[in-house]
C-alpha cells in the first residue's frame, strides 16, 4: 500500500463503519490494531449495529460508509431496490457445526421430520436461518410452510427454549455452545451437507459510495484485505481482538467454533445462496451475484 501519496488525493479520510459485535467484525479491529488504516491515512470510527437493514437510512444519506452484512441481507437489500449495495470484502464462509437447530432437553422432537407444525425461533425472519433450515427440512421431506418461524433475538432464544416457549431454535455461536451446555439437543447442523460452504458475511458498501470515493475505497480495501489475510491464517489474532469490541470473554472467544475466514468469496456458493433464497420466495428477482461484486476497487 502506498499510503502516503494516496492520502493527499483521498476523497475522505474519516470513515464511519457499522460493525456487528460478533467475531465476523474481527478483521476490521485487527486492521485498526495493526495500524493499517493509519498507514493508509484513514481514521475509522465504528458504530455498533444489529443488522444493515436498520441503518440503511444512514447509508443512503451518506452518514455511514461501510458496514458488516450477511450475504443474505446484502441480497435482500439489493432485491428490494431501496439501494444498490456492493460486496466490498468477503469475511467468513460457513463450516459444519457453527449454526444448528436445537430442541430442549427432553423434547419429543428428535429429528428434522418431527418439526412439522412446530414453532422454530430464528433471529431474523426470511433470512439465513430460515433459508438453511428450509434446505434441511426439504431433505427430510417437509415443506417450508410446515414449520412456523418466529423472530426472537439469539440471547432470548435460550430462555425461550429452556422454558419451552418455543419448540426449537436456530442458533449460532456462542449461543449454540451455551444451549448445548444447558442440555439442548442438536437435531440439524444447518451448515453441513447441502448448506456447507455457503458465504456468511462480508463488508458491504453502496454502489454510489464506491463511485464517489474510488481512492478512499482503494485505501480502505487495502487495509481490510491485509487484515483479512491475517484473520484467515492466524486464529490467535482474532481471539485477541474479540474481547475489545464485544462482551465475549477471552476464554469463550478462544473456544468458539468459527467459520472459514478467507480472502475472497466463492462465486458458485454465493450464487447457490442466492438461488436458495429466491427459491423460497425471499427474493423477488433471481439475482446474478457477479453484478454485486465490483470488478475492481479503486
Amino acid at each position: 500500500g502506498g499510503g502516503g501519496d494516496g492520502a493527499t488525493a483521498q476523497e475522505k479520510t474519516t470513515l464511519t463503519v457499522g460493525v456487528v459485535p460478533v467475531p465476523s467484525s474481527a478483521p476490521l479491529f485487527i486492521a485498526e490494531k495493526n495500524g493499517f488504516f493509519k498507514a493508509e491515512g484513514l481514521t475509522v470510527k465504528t458504530e455498533i449495529i444489529q443488522a444493515p437493514q436498520a441503518v440503511m437510512p444512514k447509508i443512503l444519506n451518506g452518514s455511514m460508509d461501510a458496514f458488516l452484512t450477511s450475504y443474505v441481507s446484502l441480497l435482500a437489500i439489493n432485491d428490494s431496490g431501496a439501494a444498490k449495495l456492493k460486496l466490498f470484502q468477503h469475511v467468513q464462509t460457513a463450516a459444519p457445526g457453527i449454526a444448528s437447530v436445537v430442541v430442549p432437553k427432553d423434547s419429543p422432537v428428535k429429528s428434522a421430520a418431527d418439526l412439522k407444525g412446530k414453532t422454530v425461533g430464528v433471529n431474523v425472519l426470511r433470512a439465513l436461518g430460515q433459508t438453511v433450515t428450509n434446505a434441511h427440512l426439504q431433505q427430510a421431506g417437509l415443506k417450508p410452510e410446515d414449520v412456523k418461524f418466529v423472530a426472537v433475538p439469539f440471547a432470548d432464544q435460550l430462555t425461550a427454549l429452556s422454558t419451552k416457549k418455543i419448540d426449537a431454535a436456530w442458533l449460532v455461536e456462542p449461543f449454540l455452545s451455551a444451549a448445548k451446555k444447558d442440555g439442548a439437543v442438536e437435531i440439524i447442523d444447518t451448515t453441513s451437507g447441502p448448506t456447507d460452504g455457503l458465504p456468511l458475511d462480508a463488508w458491504g458498501v453502496s454502489e454510489d459510495w464506491l463511485a464517489k470515493n474510488p481512492k478512499t475505497a482503494a485505501a480502505f480495501h487495502r487495509a481490510l484485505a491485509k487484515a483479512q489475510q491475517i484473520a484467515s491464517t492466524d486464529r490467535e489474532a482474532i481471539n485477541a481482538v474479540i474481547p475489545t469490541y464485544t462482551q465475549i470473554p477471552a476464554e469463550t472467544a478462544a473456544a468458539m467454533k468459527l467459520g472459514q475466514f478467507s480472502a475472497d468469496v466463492d462465486k458458485g456458493e454465493f450464487q447457490k445462496l442466492a438461488d436458495l433464497l429466491h427459491g423460497y420466495g425471499y427474493l423477488k428477482a433471481k439475482p446474478d451475484v457477479t453484478t454485486l461484486i465490483p470488478a475492481r476497487i479503486g
Binding site: 470510527k45 449495529i49 437510512p57 462482551q247
Partner: protein
C-alpha cells in the same frame, strides 16, 4: 420512614425473585444476586458509564425540548377551543405512531445518530406532556379564573397566573411519565439502530455475546436511573407545589 419502607419493598421484591430463582421457578435466568453483583461491577466499568452518559444526554436534551414545546402547545390547545378541535385529529393521528417505526425516517433526516435519537425522544415524550397539560387546563376552577377576569386581567395573564399554576400538578405528572418514556425510547432506539454508544448498544453487545447477566444488569440500571430521576422530580414537585399537597387530603 417512607424511605425505609421503600427499601424494604425493593429488598422484599428482590428476595422473592432470588427465592424463585433458587427454587427453580425461573431457573433459566441468572439469579438476582448474580445480576446485582454484575450491576455493581458496571459502576466501575468506564465503557458502561460512557454508554449511560450517551443515553442520558439524549434523554435530557429530548425532555427539555419536549417540555418547552409541548407544554406551551398544550396551553394553546387547552385555552383556544377552535385550535384544539382543528388540531386534535392531527394529534390523534400522530400519537399512536410508535417511535420505533419512525427510526428509519429519523435516521434518514438526521445524519447524526444522537440527534436522530433525541428527535425520537422529543416526539414520544411530547404526548404525555401535551395531554396532561390539556386535561389540567380543563380542571381549573372557574371561580379562580373569574376572579382574575374580575380584576380586569387579560387572557394571557389568566393563563400565566391562574391556569398555569393550577395546571402545574397535572403537568408535573406528565413530566414524571415523560421522564421514564425518554429512557425507554432512547434505549430502544439504540437497541434497534445501534450507534456509537448508549445503554441500548451495550445491551446489543451483551446480547450478541450471550451475556444475559450483563443484559439484565444494564436493564436494572435503566430502571434504577428511572427511579432516581423520579425521586429527583418528585422532590422538585414537593418544593414547587407544597400548596397542592397541603390542601389536598393526601393519602392516609
Amino acid at each position: 420512614m417512607t424511605k425505609a419502607l421503600g427499601v424494604a419493598g425493593v429488598l422484599g421484591f428482590l428476595l422473592l425473585l432470588e427465592v424463585a430463582g433458587r427454587t427453580g421457578l425461573i431457573e433459566v435466568l441468572p439469579p438476582v444476586s448474580a445480576v446485582l453483583v454484575t450491576a455493581a461491577g458496571l459502576v466501575v466499568d468506564g465503557v458502561f458509564l460512557a454508554d449511560v452518559g450517551v443515553t442520558l444526554a439524549a434523554c435530557a436534551t429530548g425532555l427539555l425540548i419536549a417540555i418547552v414545546t409541548a407544554v406551551p402547545a398544550g396551553l394553546l390547545l387547552g385555552t383556544v377551543p377552535a385550535v384544539e378541535r382543528s388540531v386534535r385529529p392531527l394529534v390523534e393521528f400522530l400519537r399512536p405512531i410508535p417511535s420505533l417505526s419512525l427510526i428509519p425516517l429519523a435516521m434518514f433526516v438526521w445524519t447524526d445518530s444522537q440527534d436522530a435519537k433525541t428527535a425520537l425522544v422529543v416526539y414520544t415524550c411530547s404526548w404525555p406532556l401535551l395531554i396532561n397539560t390539556m386535561y389540567g387546563l380543563a380542571d381549573v376552577d372557574p371561580v379562580a379564573k373569574d376572579t382574575m377576569r374580575g380584576f380586569g386581567f387579560g387572557p394571557l395573564a389568566i393563563l400565566w397566573r391562574v391556569s398555569l399554576p393550577s395546571t402545574a400538578p397535572f403537568i408535573a405528572t406528565g413530566v414524571r411519565i415523560a421522564v421514564s418514556v425518554t429512557l425507554i425510547v432512547a434505549v430502544s432506539v439504540e437497541l434497534i439502530a445501534g450507534g456509537a454508544g448508549g445503554i441500548g448498544t451495550f445491551l446489543v453487545q451483551a446480547g450478541s455475546a450471550n451475556r444475559v447477566d450483563r443484559m439484565l444488569a444494564a436493564t436494572v440500571w435503566a430502571g434504577a436511573i428511572g427511579l432516581g430521576a423520579n425521586a429527583l422530580f418528585t422532590a422538585a414537585e414537593r418544593r414547587l407545589f407544597g400548596w397542592h399537597r397541603a390542601r389536598a387530603g393526601e393519602g392516609a
